[in-house]
Symmetry: C2
Subunit: 151 residues, 2 copies
DNA sequence: GATAAATAGTACCAAAATAGTCCACATTCA
DNA sequence: TGAATGTGGACTATTTTGGTACTATTTATC
């Protein structure tokens, strides 16, 4: 449940890679090679991240990308928004016409709260935390929670 | 960012409708007519909700559906999971092969925490809350938060 | 028992979103 | 000047999603 595109997943990986040595400028080519992804795909992701101010680019030979801010100041929410776009959980935002039912519309209103809750959860995870190696906080017996990693 | 299918949206509306008079059994036809949705679509949603134990069905003439539990005991997370399926935020769950990079994999591990945070946010909203009319908790000046309702 | 009204299950199609690629152009370093 | 690199946009193929149709099964009612 609750999907995020594959490109967004890549996006977090790319950002994490850049966060390892924030001062070091990396070309799209380097990143693609290092991460084992296709150059055009990486390029596309970098453009999106750049557009949303998460990266700084340097054109020309010896060019590349660096983080626009310290990893602590970049949230997962920003990364997702940059690539996924500002699409709400529900798509009923503008076209209210379809649901002229009192019941339905009150539901729609309450979705706002859900959206906010999820957004806050995402804003509270920084790129820095994402880049940290996984701390084995809890080892659960395999199979105990079948979909532990799923939403 | 962060999408939920249209069917899931309908699902919440259907559940909310049933929650209004929990004792009252409703046929798929009634629900479709009342909510202004196509019968086959509503039927599909009801089947999914039924399969996940959120509804109880009564077959045959005068049959229909009722909630399987009080609205307070059903979470939005359950509704979403029933219709959207247990798809994780990222799809890297099984096929670890594609990403053989240390950098990337540590990111993947950290996604678990994000998933959990979001899931908990969703589990903390019950169907009962969803069914409540929107309480105008705070009126914010329009435009102050451009994408207030989006994620 | 017969009949009508429902759900149950499954398969299918069309449309939309997504992933991924390619190319022509602009910029900068050596 | 030339090679390397980002920029922007268009394009295609694949996947996912939404929506529909059909048949079987169950049950209330007459």
């Amino acid at each position: 449940m609750l999907r995020v595109g594959k490109l967004t997943d890549y996006g977090t990986v790319v950002m994490t890679y850049l966060a390892r040595e924030p001062e070091q400028m990396r070309s799209a080519n380097d990143i693609a090679a290092e991460l084992g992804l296709a150059l055009p795909t990486v390029s596309k992701i970098l453009k999106a991240l750049l557009h949303h101010g998460l990266l700084v680019s340097h054109r020309g030979a010896k060019g590349g990308y660096t983080l626009a801010a310290p990893a602590e100041a970049i949230s997962v929410a920003q990364i997702i928004a940059a690539i996924e776009g500002p699409i709400a959980l529900t798509e009923c935002s503008d076209t209210e016409g379809s649901c002229n039912q009192e019941t339905g519309c009150s539901v729609r209103g309450n979705w706002q709260r859900i959206n906010r809750a999820v957004r806050e959860a995402l804003e509270n995870v920084s790129l820095a935390e994402l880049a940290r190696p996984v701390q084995p906080i809890r080892f659960m017996t395999p199979g105990a929670l079948p979909s532990a990693g799923s939403l």
